[in-house]
Amino acid sequence: MEHEQAQKLLSCYVDKTLDPKSTQKLETHLEGCRECRGDLDLLKKTLQAIGEIPPAEVPSDFSARLRRKARKAGLFQRHRRRSATRQMVPIEASMAVLLAAIGGLVVLLLTVYSQIQFEAPQNPPAVLLVESKDQVNQVARSAWEAGGEVRIPGRPAVPAQAPLGAPPELELHIPEEAWPAFDRALEKSGLKAPGRPQPDADGRLRVVVQIRLRADAPVPGEEDPASSADRPRNRPDPESPPPGGKE
């Protein structure tokens, strides 16, 4: 074994971590190398001197002083706060988000429900089909005479005898007790009354009047020869839509 290589192995030799083959080679080298024997001896003495150092003794009050210092520095409180925050991220934060979402949903539902509650629950209305503008007017007049209301969907009630224009649909609200009168008025006009609907919570019967003008019926906004015959020419037609076609 080379001297340089032997020098490098001295430490492992002392530690007894050399493999048997290397150990044998080194021991052979040591027998003939005074320098390596001297180094080995010095190394052993050094390690022996280190080994004789007594274990360091921690000061007897180390633990107590550390505890005091930890409390004074708020170590445990800080740690708990941090732990709580970190633990909240996966569990409690998710719960908080979930609760907020549920809360929001509940508020939304309550809002919608409250809006629904303000409107009286409705039964299906009766449906009356009319085919001309005249019939529309007759239906409306019948409703007004019976004490009911005439509405164009999405608008306030039309005042009695006011022009209706040419709405696609009307809604009639007939008081329950006035239904026979409304029924009779319709029959008198030659219209077939619809079946009596169930009254709503406010005691009114609803009739939806769907207007399906026939091809030969007068077009809304145009002069109806039948109705204009007994009306002065210079008087505006109360049933024609206002300028612009809007009401």
Partner: protein
């Protein structure tokens, strides 16, 4: 079978301690300090060579362990992890002290009136060597004179008697590097110790 059982049981105890530490349990902190204070303090003392510095640093080590225990992934023993933190703290403190001493144009040894090397401010003659404390002071002084990378290996292996595997884990050095560097450190220390050991 017995060693396995003992190992399993100590592993269970350690896991339980780590869990309690992660919960921030003050009693677990005390238990951890009780279990590791001697070795942490010893490592600090041998690395720094000063009792007061070692005590202060050991306290910092335990604070760090407690506040960063959540980052401990339990891939090594708790003791190895604590040693790694201790070693890093020691190296940082040595850098700080070296800077401070350098700024004051003083040697590190002269700034420690009450430390282990204090008794060796005078160089004792080999024939005046006493046993025990005096030799301890000489060894410590010569260890202090080593470079930090040599010093830490002498302390971990020859004073704390850690295995090569543990040393690798603590220092992040490859096994071959640990062995070759330790050899150089030992030979350097032996050369320094030679005047005091020649008549032994």
């Amino acid at each position: 079978m017995l060693p396995d059982k003992v190992s399993d049981s100590s592993s269970l105890l350690e896991r339980s301690l780590v869990r309690a530490l992660k919960r921030g349990d003050p009693k677990a902190f005390e238990r951890m300090v009780c279990l590791h204070q001697n070795r942490v303090f010893s490592l600090c003392l041998r690395m720094l060579g000063n009792t007061q510095e070692a005590e202060d640093l050991a306290q910092e080590v335990f604070f760090t362990v407690f506040t960063s225990i959540r980052t401990f992934r339990e891939e090594s023993l708790l003791s190895t992890w604590i040693y790694r933190i201790t070693r890093n703290h020691c190296l940082n403190r040595l850098k700080f002290l070296r800077r401070r001493v350098h700024d004051k144009k003083q040697s590190l040894d002269h700034t420690r009136p009450a430390d282990l090397t204090d008794r060796n401010a005078r160089v004792p003659r080999p024939d005046h060597l006493a046993e025990g404390k005096e030799m301890e002071a000489i060894v410590q002084e010569q260890i202090n004179a080593l470079t930090e990378e040599h010093r830490e290996l002498i302390v971990l292996r020859d004073i704390e008697h850690l295995s090569y595997d543990e040393i690798q884990s603590i220092t992040d050095l490859p096994g071959g590097t640990v062995k070759s560097r330790l050899h150089r450190a030992r030979m350097e220390l032996a050369r320094r110790m030679a005047p005091y050991l020649s008549d032994k």
